[in-house]
Symmetry: C2
Subunit: 322 residues, 2 copies
């Protein structure tokens, strides 16, 4: 029997190529992003969640021809309780039905059996569907046995993960930039010796080495692995180091736009052929309707126009190295 | 106006004293933990979620006189989709209504504004209640600015967090035990110099130092901070180091029982007076009805008996140092 499970990195790479733009529209739909006329329904959790879902549907319809992916940040949905989680599930489903790659930004992490429950919740193995997406963000602080349940599920169901490596926040260096002396106080799994190598490396470089290892068995025909890395747009020097360290990892790059990352700063996140990264923008797209530049447009029209601008920006950047 | 917000560490410490047992009953209610007669209703997400909630309610009623706290692991609820998240919210609510301290084990983590959305979802600031608990577990890999939104909310609403420090899984050492050379490649927040001190320290020790810093402003009358630490029962030697390093942090200790941690191994998690830790047991309590020892009991009766046994075990341990 032929294996019909496709590699998630291949699907994402193909979608980026088809749309001609390595970007994700971030559906971090905070209640205060909604236009005034939609907030009137927000006097209950049900009403607020329904308004958020409707906002997302219109944005999805508006950008589906332009962007290959959406990234949905679960925190804003959890803040609306289980009703919000229904909107989260519906948003992921609607994005996938509209041909978009759905990235669930949940940064989940736990020990083995519990990580397995998370993997089933998000990567398609749940009995009743739950929150099925294409890619899930995860946090690797617990080590290989906290990641394996996710990568096992990725292999089985053609899904992917992005492991936090160097995050976009100003304080990310407090732990991630700590330098290692090249030793480990504990025995580590035999397949994970890489984390101990190289005194003078930073923690984020050690994490990068592990992301390489964790993804080695999930490299698709595109040359990229279903195990990618989260690398913030706000740290171009570190991104350059990580790009060399993880040639087969797709970088999910937050921090472009509202957080201060520039298109120029993104360049180190891409390989020389312009592939290997997907750049996320959330607030600049969802709240575009409030800016002078897109004045008079409906929120979803402004979201489309802002996505077009991002696409143009990124294409120019990719062209430089073509 | 008097400040009526109580410190979460004080509430937990008082509850432990009142019940005479430093333990939490872990409501990690996987579907396959349910007794056969309850699984018949599990042919839909709604039915499964309702069965899980009912199972939890009966266990809560059964242990409320014995245990000061429950720890609810969200992954098993997420695996049942938004219907599961409703059962999660209902379980937290029912535990609190029954006078138990509710610890939501969610290991949440993100950058500032998004961490704020998580904080509101779990620590009582959400418009419609969402998933209000007393304590939330969080992952500190993103550094101080990813933790501050949580500790701000703790200060405001009398809530607490447990930050992952040294986790109970066998592979936790792969990253957490990496040794640092005492330098940092990036400038770090001025109030967070501790992470750079001490070459030869491990990453989990650096995390412990930061947990101290993050919790310094939230120490209650009990002498403990609302910022605690997750320290696995499976690593007694490391726990002893961390106990000295974080005298004011309450340790949330998973790994007792099913994961191989013994009562004797727990001792380093407590301060000399027998305070400072809360030990969690999940499977050994929820699935007690399947063991020879508790044969013939209903699941909630067996859960109570197993909790009594854990309490006795922990009291004996505490007595040693009294």
């Amino acid at each position: 029997m032929e294996n019909t499970v496709t590699n998630a990195a291949d699907r994402l790479t193909a979608a980026i190529k088809e749309k001609g733009a390595p970007c994700a529209v971030g559906l971090d739909t905070a209640l205060d992003f909604l236009p005034e006329e939609m907030t009137r329904a927000c006097d209950s959790a049900e009403g607020a969640a329904a308004a958020v879902a409707e906002f997302n549907y219109r944005v999805i319809e508006s950008v589906r021809g332009l962007a290959p992916a959406v990234k949905v940040q679960v925190a804003y949905y959890e803040a609306l309780g289980w009703q919000g989680m229904r909107a989260f599930a519906d948003t992921l489903k609607y994005a996938r039905e509209n041909g978009l790659i759905a990235i669930a930004d949940c940064k989940r992490n736990d020990i083995a059996s519990t990580a397995g429950a998370y993997a089933s919740a998000f990567l398609g193995g749940a009995a009743f569907g739950a929150f099925e997406c294409d890619f899930l963000t995860v946090n690797g602080y617990l080590g290989a046995d906290g990641i394996k349940p996710f990568t096992d599920e990725c292999a089985k169901r053609g899904k992917g993960v992005f492991v936090l490596c160097k995050t976009s926040n100003p304080g990310s260096g407090q732990l991630q930039d700590l330098k290692l002396d090249g030793t480990c106080a504990a025995p580590v799994p035999s397949n994970a010796a890489d984390s101990r190598r190289g005194g003078g490396r930073t923690l984020y470089e050690a994490m990068g080495g592990l992301i390489n290892e964790w993804g080695a068995g999930l490299v698709g025909q595109s040359g990229y692995s279903a195990v990618g890395a989260v690398v913030g747009a706000t740290h171009p020097a570190q991104a350059a180091v990580l790009r060399k360290l993880m040639p087969r990892a797709i970088f999910l790059v937050p921090g472009y736009g509202a957080q201060g990352g520039t298109a120029e700063g993104l360049r180190p996140c891409f390989n020389a052929d312009g592939t290997g990264a997907v750049v996320n923008s959330s607030r600049a797209i969802l709240c575009a309707y409030r800016s002078e530049k897109y004045k008079g447009m409906k929120y979803y029209e402004a979201a489309r126009a802002a996505t077009e601008d991002m696409v143009e920006d990124l294409r120019r950047l990719q062209g430089i190295d073509d």
